[in-house]
Structure formats: structure tokens, C-alpha cells
Amino acid sequence: MLAKLCKKAFPKSLWVYHCNSGACNGCDIEILNILTPYYDVERFGIKVVASPRHADVMFISGAVTRPTLPLVKKAYAAIPEPKLVFGIGSCAIGGNCWFDTYHVTGGADKAVPVNYIIPGCPPRPEAIIYGVALALGLVDKKASPVELKQVEFPVDMYQNNKAYEERNVIYQVLKN
């Protein structure tokens, strides 16, 4: 439903408000990097604007620290509807190493609803472009949950026990 809304609401261009909520500047430099001619996101109509009132999309970087928490909430409220929030970097998504420290709320999703997450510490500029293109519907989602199960070991154990029983004459005698 959200993807449909996105396609209807942002058919041409996204104006981005970049919100640093206590990041180390690594993610901020990568966000500025996607504006350079080498990556040039303006071909998708993406533009970084100074005021949240002009923006459609908020890029949050950084684990939301306690002093910035009310400011992030106010900036989010100032963006006109419909709006999207991108969490950029591990800090904004889950809080990174500081997810349970005393002065960090532990991720942007504790402060504002986050629609898309772009993991990485910092994410590559390509990863950010990929995330924005995913929201625009230009590319398909590649990430999926992985479930792995060890099944060999008990089977192995069973076969080993069986071979052991067959090898030893006493088990055959007991059976007979």
C-alpha cells in the first residue's frame, strides 16, 4: 500500500531534507557524495533542500541522541504529508554500538516512524541510491531473511550409532 502511495505521490522528484541527529559525519559525507557528478542523483530529480517544509523525504543519519530527540520530532512534523523517512546507516536503523547507552534513544524508529532502512556503516553512495531507487520503484528488493538449519549432525550420529552396532557382535547377539 505504501509503495502504491509512493508511486502516486512522488511521480517525478523527491526533495530531501537531510537530518543529522548526532551522527559521526560518515553518513552525512556519503549523502553529500551522491550529489556529486560521479553519482548525480539529480537525474532522478532528487534534491537536498534546507528546510523541512520544502521536503518530501527525510534522511535521518545518526542514533537519535537525547538533545536532538525533540528537534527530530519537530522536523518530522514540519514536513508536509505525504512523507517518507529513510534511516541511513546502522545508527539510524538500530542504534549501532550505542543502542542501549544512557543518552541515546537507540535508533530513529524510537523517535519517528522509519519507512525505509539503508544499512551500512557508513552505507556506500550506491547503497543510498539503491535505497532511494527502491522507494521510487526503479529496482527490486534484494534482501530477504535467511534461515539456516543444521540437519546433518543428528543424521550422522544416527548412522554412526547404527554402524557401531553393526560392527560390534554383542549387539547382534543381543538381538538374536
Binding site: 548525480d40 538500530g94 544499512p119 552505507p123 539503491y130 535467511v146
Partner: protein, 178 residues
Amino acid sequence: MWLTSKIKQVLMVLKPGVVTLKYPFEPHPVAKDFRGQPSWDHHKCVGCGGCAVHCPARTIMIRDVCQDLRIMLYDGARCTYCGRCADVCPEDAITMTENFELATNDRNDITVNMELFMLTCQRCGRCFNMETTNMIDKMGLRGYRYDNLEARAVIPKVTEHFDEKLLEESDRYKRPQK
């Protein structure tokens, strides 16, 4: 005069040509030794928990649901991609892949869930040698671990023998609200 300078500019621009990448439509290879999403090989993993102990973001969680079954959860949401887990893995079961296109709208998409069968010692019936236990060894969190996978929380408590009470306690665990 202004025309010559414009022509000069055009010639200067023509020399490098178009440098912009066609990235989302054409793949762009990563640099050498780039660390992307870690991947686990469950055939090699012995379930020692070294990756969970060394993870700086504590994003690898281990839960022993019974004596023989250990569940390991990697939550990619707060992963730093430091490659520490791949360094400490004694069996080389973890490799850092070059996959960086991990952007999703659902944070469960970047998790790895593993079920490991633990081999208990035939003589003493324990997973690890806990005979020489002291506080420094316990800080390394060896033994049975009871992390809460729903809350994505590492609970720094271990026991030498499997304890059902601690498992129930960790089920009721909630993050401190601020």
C-alpha cells in the same frame, strides 16, 4: 572574448567525457576487500558463540532452547560491518560478502537465523569445559546463553547447566523505557 572562454570550457568538458555512473540500472563493482553483509555457513559452524561474544554492536544473539539446540540470530539492523565475527571464527564459517544492496522497508529482511545442534561431552554431559570457572571466564559468556531474540537483546547471564527458569525470565525481558 567571452566566446573563446566558452569554447575553452566546452573543450575542457569534452576531454573527460561523461563520468556519471548508470548505477541503479547497471551494477557497479565494489572495491577490493570491501566488507558487506556477513554470511554464515551452517555446515561449518560449531556454535562456539565467539562471534556473539566479540560483536561490538552485540547484534549476534544466542539462545539455548534446550540442551542440544542452540538458536543464533544475526540482526543486520545495527551491524557495523567491522568483520570482527569473520576474524574470530575458528572454523571460517563466516565470510564477509560483497553484498551491499540491503535497503528494505522491513527490518526483518536483513536477519540470519540459524539452528545449531550442539554436541555434548559424552563423559560430563556439558557443552564446554567449565571446570576452571572464574569471573573472567564468565565475562566471556561461555556456557548456556539466554538472549531474547524478540527484543533483540543480549542478556549477559550464563549458566553451567541448562536452566529453564532463566529461559522463562528472558522470555519476559523488556527493554528499559525512557
